[in-house]
């Protein structure tokens, strides 16, 4: 289960990266701002989930 959650968290962060790259390709302007923040939020959620999973793993191996 933890492995599935890790894969989902990584997928979320990667999707966030893809969103940023695709939006950035349109140029940095007002129209890009919501997309850029969306990408950043996706990466942040992925990293947050990964940090929680890492915390659980540390607890399991201790």
């Amino acid at each position: 289960m933890l492995a599935v959650r890790t894969v989902l968290a990584i997928a979320m962060a990667v999707c966030g990266g893809v969103v940023i790259v695709r939006v950035a390709a349109l140029g940095f302007r007002v129209e890009s701002a919501p997309g850029l923040i969306l990408g950043i939020a996706m990466i942040a959620l992925g990293v947050h989930r990964l940090s929680l999973i890492a915390g659980i793993r540390r607890g399991m191996t201790r």
């Binding site: 701002a33 919501p34 997309g35 923040i37 969306l38 939020a41 996706m42 959620l45 947050h48 929680l52």
Partner: protein, 539 residues
């Protein structure tokens, strides 16, 4: 031997339970907010969601810190009372009560709207009486269930939340993979950019997509190890809701509908153009968007209206439950008459609170639905409220109540950082300025100032752009404050000042009851060291 201790709420809410309590409340908001914002802000809907979303992140962080530091039922009202005093605690609690009563009506109303996607007989514009009677029945039914003490379980919330997260993720994945056109999004934003007035209106409506974080802090007293669990679940919830709101608004503006959509004259239109001046569509935006997503829309068209209706009904129920809890907590703090603490002899529920605030929700429903039931009343609404009825009326008041209570929560956070630096904060909002207050080291939260400016600007937008919010919202507050003064005078309590509170003793009790014994020891040690420093300074 009979126990003389006060009964405590059982701590049975797990991390997933805490997330799903919050999600079942906040997650339903996008089902209501999306259509309203698309109708108001047109090509800048995603910008409206972005602005409201940034303010919401600040609000979420503030609630996370406060709920983890003071894990008690009562939420915003308790934090404001503790930070700013009784009067402001009452105003914040009264504004939250307005929101909860609106929550009951608004979500029951949109629950019927979503159901109308599968049952056309429930369509408000075609059968207003049926729509009104079904909404009324739902509200009365929820009041009845809450009086006899039946409410949804954490497990039920968890299942519905999980289904909804998976469903919304699928809609967005399929939507972005097969229907999203980045250049169409840019074109829409450039060609359909709204006027400043419409953008302000849209932004003030976008905040209603982020209301409900109260739930996590309200459930804090029932959460296991709240100081550790609440920050984890809150941050996941804040980011999840922000992602959904931004993703839906971007997709709605830049999607190529699966089936061509045409206007009354037969001309093709973009997806977002079906919302302006169409209350029926505004009330079921997510279901309409899901049905236009290629491939997945074939299944989503059938189950998303049902899932949305269930989630909205849970949210409506949390309004009935939450209003009675807040009234109970305010009454316990002598901010409301003790009648709101009375429990039903047989069912052991705060029946008077439930019926009173449920009754106010029904009055709000009557006011919102009246012009559609009696077209003659439309002239009055047109003259005084710029034709604002139905969903617009409910959304106006919802935005007003949320913006008012959140403004006070930011002020309470700043005040508590300065007045109570000794309480251990397991989660602290980043970006702080070190300051020294009353001989103690404290940290001034810069994010709270940014959030306060943001939410006050949304409050100003609400007052500027919503005729009903401008009149009914402040009237609710003024009537409440007058009643508060009468009550406090009658009880011989200070009207403008606060009662004497033993906050240090209360904090030790709170942390002990929360099972946060390490934090309790840390707090006691901090207090002792502070007292010793003061005694040394005095000699």
């Amino acid at each position: 031997m009979a126990s003389t201790s006060k009964p405590q709420l059982r701590r049975s809410v797990t991390p997933w339970g805490s997330f799903s309590w919050g999600y079942s409340d906040v997650g339903a908001d996008i089902f209501v907010g999306l259509g309203l914002v698309l109708a108001a802000a047109a090509g800048a809907s995603n910008v409206a969601f972005l602005f409201a979303g940034i303010v919401y992140v600040c609000i979420g962080l503030a609630y996370t810190e406060l709920a983890a530091t003071y894990p008690v039922a009562g939420g915003g009202q308790y934090f404001v009372m503790r930070g700013l005093g009784d009067v402001f605690g009452f105003i914040a609690g009264w504004a939250v009560l307005l929101d909860f009563t609106i929550d009951i009506t608004l979500f029951a109303w949109t629950c019927v709207d979503y159901s109308s996607q599968l049952l056309p007989v429930l369509t408000g514009s075609i059968h207003p009486w049926v729509h009104f009677l079904v909404t009324l029945t739902l509200i009365v039914g929820l009041i009845g269930l809450n009086v006899i003490g039946v409410r949804e379980s954490t497990a039920f919330n968890g299942i519905v939340s999980a289904l909804d997260v998976v469903s919304e993720t699928c809609i967005l994945c399929f939507g972005f993979l097969f229907a999203f056109r980045p250049h169409l999004l840019v074109h829409t934003m450039q060609m359909s950019w709204p006027s400043p007035y419409q953008l302000m209106l849209g932004t003030s409506l976008a905040i209603i997509s982020f209301v409900g974080l109260e739930s996590i802090s309200q459930a804090a007293q029932e959460t296991q190890r709240p100081a550790s669990v609440i920050p984890r679940t809150s941050i996941a919830l804040i980011l999840t809701i922000l992602i959904f709101a931004l993703a839906y608004s971007n997709l709605a503006l830049g999607m190529q509908p699966w089936h061509p959509i045409t206007d009354a004259a037969g001309h093709p239109v973009q997806f977002w153009q079906i919302f302006p001046n169409n209350g029926d569509n505004q009330g079921k935006a997510v279901a309409l968007l899901a049905s236009q997503v290629p491939y997945f829309g074939a299944i989503a068209a059938f189950y998303v209206p049902i899932l949305g209706a269930v989630l909205l009904l849970i949210s409506s129920n949390s309004g009935v439950f939450g209003s009675s809890r807040i009234a109970y907590a305010m009454s316990s703090s002598n901010l409301l008459p003790s009648i709101f603490q009375r429990v039903h002899a047989k069912f052991r529920t705060p029946a008077i609170s439930i019926v009173t605030f449920g009754g106010i929700a029904i009055l709000e429903l009557l006011f919102a639905a009246f012009p559609s039931l009696h077209p003659g009343a439309m002239t009055i609404y047109a003259r005084f409220f710029r034709n604002e009825t139905g969903l617009d009326f409910l959304a106006d008041l919802y935005a007003f109540g949320a913006a008012t209570s959140y403004s006070f929560v930011f002020l309470a956070l700043i005040a508590l950082r300065l007045k109570d630096p000794l309480s251990p904060r397991k989660f602290k909002i980043p970006f702080n300025l070190p300051v020294r207050v009353g001989g103690e080291d404290a940290e001034f939260p810069i994010v709270a100032v940014i959030g306060f400016v943001g939410i006050v600007s949304i409050l100003v937008f609400t007052l500027f752009t919503h005729p009903i919010g401008r009149i009914a919202g402040p009237t609710w507050l003024v009537l409440g404050i007058l009643a508060y003064f009468v009550y406090r005078r009658h009880r011989g309590l200070p009207m403008f000042g606060s009662q004497k509170h033993e906050w240090r003793k209360a904090q030790v009790e709170i942390l002990r009851n929360a099972g946060e014994l390490e934090l309790m020891d840390e707090y006691v040690a901090n207090v002792k060291a502070s007292d010793e420093r003061r005694a040394k300074a005095a000699t």
